[in-house]
């Protein structure tokens, strides 16, 4: 009789990028399995990184002893605020380590809050991680504290990780789903926004940026954030000009305290929900990756007036 738990199957051949989940029940279990995993990599001169809260980083640092000096420690609170920013932060760390090592092992804690809608957002993050770094020689083990882990999150873990670390070792998840499928299930429909005002649509990027700067000032957006929006807006508008047949409308204003800018183009748009979440590489552009990093959220959807990119600062 197989000892493999429900929802899991034996591993087959290994891909270049491995994305594994480890749901632990005690801190000791987390520490011992994580340390063993990282040490195995260090023995092969692989790079190593741990992402977690400061107290748990302290525990891991102590447990690693002299090996701690070879490991990068990342404070979860500084990187896990928005999925796009988390992906960008991980990309930075992996790239840094891969300058000096043939491959990387990561043990990354994932924080889920008290709100169900937010769980979906981070389940989507885990799904897109499979595609975001699929070109990298990296093995990322996402760690979840199993005590009190809500059932939908636990289910999402199985759906978004091709393999799991269990008491019986590494096992393939039988419930794994493609990133696009998960993202379509977890994404929220964009809501209609009342009160945005139209400004003249122009195909001249410089005029668009200038007008955006004026509107940001009028709306009282902090100076430190205005350049973020100008740069993100430029990327979205440039994309619309290049691929969307030009701008048909621009609407902007404030909604629930956030500056919002809608860039509407004349093209047919796209359906891929991973756009802008994939780390730039050959064949994957930079523009929307940059725009997502600089802003709170970007929604893409079709409307009667064209294909809309709604940017929330």
């Amino acid at each position: 009789m197989s000892s493999v738990p429900d929802g899991l199957v034996e591993l087959g051949s290994m891909p270049r990028f491995r994305h594994t989940a480890f749901v632990y029940e005690t801190q000791d279990e987390y520490v011992s399995r994580s340390v063993a995993f990282l040490r195995e990599g260090l023995e092969m001169d692989e790079g190593a990184v741990i992402v977690n809260t400061r107290p748990l980083l302290g525990v891991m640092r102590e447990a690693l002893g002299a090996d701690a000096g070879k490991v990068a420690f990342v404070d979860l609170e500084s990187v896990q605020t928005r999925p796009s920013r988390t992906l960008a932060a991980y990309n930075e760390v992996y790239v840094d380590l891969l300058q000096r090592a043939p491959s990387v092992r990561a043990v990354a804690g994932v924080a889920h809050g008290p709100d169900r809608d937010e769980w979906d957002e981070w389940i989507g993050f885990e799904a897109v991680l499979n595609r975001a770094f699929e070109h990298l020689p990296a093995w990322v083990v996402c760690t979840y504290d199993g005590s009190g882990l809500p059932a939908p999150v636990r289910e999402g873990v199985l759906q978004t990780h091709p393999e799991m670390l269990t008491g019986d070792g590494w096992r393939k998840s039988g419930e794994y789903e493609d990133a696009v499928q998960v993202l379509r299930k977890t994404a929220r429909e964009p809501e209609p926004l009342q009160g945005l005002r139209a400004i003249p649509a122009t195909d001249d990027l410089e005029s668009f940026q200038q007008r955006l700067a004026t509107e940001l000032a009028n709306e009282g957006v902090p100076v430190a954030k205005r350049l973020d929006m100008i740069l993100a807006g430029r990327e979205i508008a440039a994309n619309a000009l290049r691929h969307g047949g030009g701008l048909s409308a621009i609407r902007l204003g404030s909604f629930d305290g956030r500056f919002v800018c809608e860039v509407i183009d004349r093209g047919g748009g796209f359906d891929d929900p991973t756009v802008g979440f994939l780390a730039p590489r050959s064949g994957v552009g930079k523009g929307l990756w940059v725009a997502r990093q600089l802003t709170w959220r970007i929604e893409f959807f079709r409307s009667t007036s064209g294909f809309v990119a709604r940017i929330w600062l």
Partner: protein, 251 residues
């Protein structure tokens, strides 16, 4: 709240001030002398609050404080768990701990009340700091998830209205730490002249100027200023879009 997330330091201060009584109240739910100071707990609580502010989405169904309280409690819990986890003690420490336990039993029998750290220090000859440290190795914080008022988790309590003398210190310490670690103003990644051009052209913290006006003040043509601006924007973009790997490694 949105401004606080957006990097407005004054807004963050207001946010922390507004929720400090609630944070202090949660901290009071932890037993004193459990191996960490009240100020440390509050620092963790503030860090939890600011993390919540950076993550909170107004579209969520959960009200902000209910959302933030989750992270505040979690941050404090992790500090307590770190301090409270099993520690290997030396033989001498084990003997000292036995003396403390014995002194506690005697005090309970004699006075029918829990001894203070001072009482235990006096009875054992250990310093209060030693007593505290040793007790921290075996204590587990109690009722961490229990609301102050079990019938209304977010209700104001008497405790929340009492000023906490350690709060101000904790608050400024954490804010400074977070401000430093999060300083990410885009323009600061550029050379001085590039910054000047972007700030002037887009009116960032000053009145906006035309390329010609900026050129005049720099002794450059408008076209040259435009080139500087374009190069600056490209540099910012490239910095943010750092390639995943050098091309020879990524294929």
């Amino acid at each position: 709240m949105v401004a606080a997330e957006a990097g407005d330091a004054a807004a963050r201060e207001r946010l922390v001030e507004a929720f400090m009584p609630a944070i202090a109240s949660i901290a009071r739910g932890y037993p004193s002398g459990a191996g960490f100071e009240r100020g440390e707990l509050i620092q963790e609580g503030i860090a939890g609050l600011l993390f919540a502010a950076r993550r909170y989405d107004f579209r969520l169904q959960t009200p902000f404080w209910a959302y933030a309280a989750f992270w505040v409690r979690k941050a404090m819990q992790e500090l307590a768990a770190e301090v409270g986890r099993p520690v290997s003690l030396s033989d001498r420490a084990v003997r000292s701990l036995a003396r403390i336990r014995s002194a506690r039993r005697e005090h309970l029998q004699t006075h029918r009340s829990e001894p203070t750290i001072k009482d235990l220090s006096r009875a054992t000859g250990l310093t209060p700091h030693q007593v505290n440290s040793l007790l921290a190795t075996e204590r587990i914080p109690r009722g961490l998830e229990e609301p102050i008022d079990p019938t209304e988790e977010t209700a104001t309590t008497v405790g929340e209205t009492i000023a906490d003398p350690t709060a101000e210190e904790a608050y400024s310490g954490v804010l400074q730490r977070i401000e430093i670690s999060e300083m990410r103003e885009l323009a600061s990644r550029l050379e001085e002249r590039e910054q000047l051009v972007l700030r002037a052209h887009y009116g960032l913290g000053q009145p906006a100027q035309t390329l010609a006006q900026i050129g005049e003040s720099l002794g450059l043509t408008a076209e040259r200023v435009r080139q500087i601006e374009t190069a600056a924007l490209r540099r910012l973009r490239d910095g943010l879009a750092r390639p995943a790997l050098p091309e020879e490694r990524s294929t």
